[in-house]
Homo-oligomer: 187 residues x 2
DNA sequence: GTCTATACCGAGATAGAC
DNA sequence: GTCTATCTCGGTATAGAC
């Protein structure tokens, strides 16, 4: 798994997707960055759809791993803070990235159905995890909730997606913290 | 102002921007829909940047008008519901649109700085309006707030943007109501 | 598995007739 | 103000040598 070309291609594709979106980059961009020709990329990923699907799957798997790394014995508001921290890291060193699946959700109307399904799965995974935290927050009193944990989780995940977008727009990382602040129960 | 070609072009451009994003449509798409040639579009809007800037300005003006139409003597939660209603309408008959400025925020890294400034203004306008509602909600007891109305407004607006995105992704309009439900003070 | 070379198309944009 | 015609570039994708 050292660093074969295929992995580099996939990594660059993910980075470009997060920065510029599906129609905002080309095989040439990846080729230039990785140091191969565009035809080599087509060898590994025949079509752009193949490339994007592979990027989504790997991205989802990585986020799933991050979620599992968050200690579920922590207070709910602390778990949420960890989650927000991961969301912030994903913006990259230059701060020019947003969530890969948030980006693809923006482009969804010009993408094949297979991508929509994969992105929906990513959303559901996050919402499910957040619903569990909201429920715990209602019990341990660290988060406010409306009583409907699933609905709260959808609103919460939307807030993270929207605030990451705004963070990049304003070049200010602080906007992600607004979400945790807004959902924390006043002590 | 009946329906000159220029207005039709602008309307189609806005619609295509909301559906497919900046790189997801072409002068040809607009030309086909309006019934003119692409060169006619270039006459009215020399570059694509001109076209997008005009679309943003008009869209912002329309949203500003909608905000002014919401009765400020209503209870805060009712004002928020009206706001959510407008957000939902914008998705269009086919439900394939998201907020024009939310879409451009996704594409922002491949757009000229002028667009970034215009989109930032749109975000600020909405956040300012929402901050006033959150403040009122703290007074009339219909909305929950953290004490920092500006931060709450940023989180709230992010939630609307993110939930509109998710609504389209899942083809379900219900997801926008989740935001109002989550912010309403339990009675 | 990577290369060179190329096919093919669609993009934004412009010149100039009407 | 709209048209025809055309330019130039960059996009995805493929064939075939190495």
């Amino acid at each position: 798994m050292a660093n074969p070309v295929r992995d580099q291609i996939l990594e660059q594709a993910a980075s470009l997707l997060m920065t510029r979106g599906y129609h905002g980059f080309s095989y040439r961009d990846i080729a230039a960055e990785v140091g191969v020709k565009t035809s080599s990329i087509h060898y590994h990923f025949p079509t752009k759809e193949d490339l994007v699907m592979a990027a989504v799957e790997e991205y989802s798997a990585e986020v799933a791993r991050n979620l599992r790394m968050i200690d579920t014995t922590l207070a709910a508001d602390m778990q949420l803070q960890r989650y927000a921290h991961h969301f912030g890291l994903m913006r990259g060193a230059a701060g020019d990235r947003i969530c890969l699946c948030g980006m693809l959700a923006s482009d969804i109307e010009s993408l094949p159905e297979s991508v929509r399904v994969a992105v929906q799965s990513f959303f559901k995974m996050n919402e499910q995890w957040l619903a569990a935290v909201v429920e715990r927050g209602a019990r341990d009193g660290t988060l406010r909730g409306s009583g409907d944990a699933e609905a709260d989780a959808r609103a919460l995940f939307g807030a993270f997606q929207g605030c990451v977008l705004a963070s990049r727009l304003f070049r200010s990382s602080a906007r992600i913290d607004d979400v945790v602040r807004a959902w924390r129960q006043a002590q």
